[in-house]
Symmetry: C2
Subunit: 110 residues, 2 copies
Amino acid sequence: MKGTYLGEFEEIVLLAVGILRDEAYGVSIRNEIESQTGRPVNIGAVHTALHRLEAKGYLKSRFGEATEIRGGKRKRLFVLTPYGVKALKLAQQVRSQMWAQLPKVVFHQK
Amino acid sequence: MKGTYLGEFEEIVLLAVGILRDEAYGVSIRNEIESQTGRPVNIGAVHTALHRLEAKGYLKSRFGEATEIRGGKRKRLFVLTPYGVKALKLAQQVRSQMWAQLPKVVFHQK
DNA sequence: AATATTATATACATTTATAAATAAAATTGA
DNA sequence: TCAATTTTATTTATAAATGTATATAATATT
């Protein structure tokens, strides 16, 4: 495991998994990110990120039932590991601390 | 200008520039990031990020006086542009909003 | 069989990490 | 004085990690 920190997109994927809880899989994660950020997200990008995050130990996965709705392969459901939660907290904490030190002048620039 | 959002490291570089104000240049930025994050930072990584961020319009730069202390080249001093401040705010806002939606269970996982 | 839904694989682009080279300016000391 | 040295800094080159897009596969419904 090399990179000890999260990429920008990886972090958002982790957050989406946390929010979705038992319903976090490729497509629902994509939708969640799109609605939260307003930016279009490619499904392949999500799967690649999920795979890497699992390899790094930030996520774990299991197969769900084949979808009840229409068709499709079995969903692969993801959950945060304690290590993943820790990484999220650390990333946010560092930035919060830096934000708090930004001079007001900069902060209020338009 | 392609990538519309900030990389993880780019964001930290911008924050360091904001904190350092009139004294933001390669070496001081590196030191600031190291002390804020506790992780070692390569000076070349900082310079490439600064260059990219300037090209994207998030930063602008000018030359400072040659150092008063011993020897050395002129420093290239950086400041945030309004566009850079906006990008920082947006990035933090999206994540704060997502954090707020994380179920408490996840949040308090150790 | 065609369609809808989902996952996976592959390829390529961009960002970040690392190391080494180059440049500029002040000090040192003959 | 002035060339060698020291200090400070930027630039360049390359590798690794991360981000994005496209193509392919699997499975159920219509």
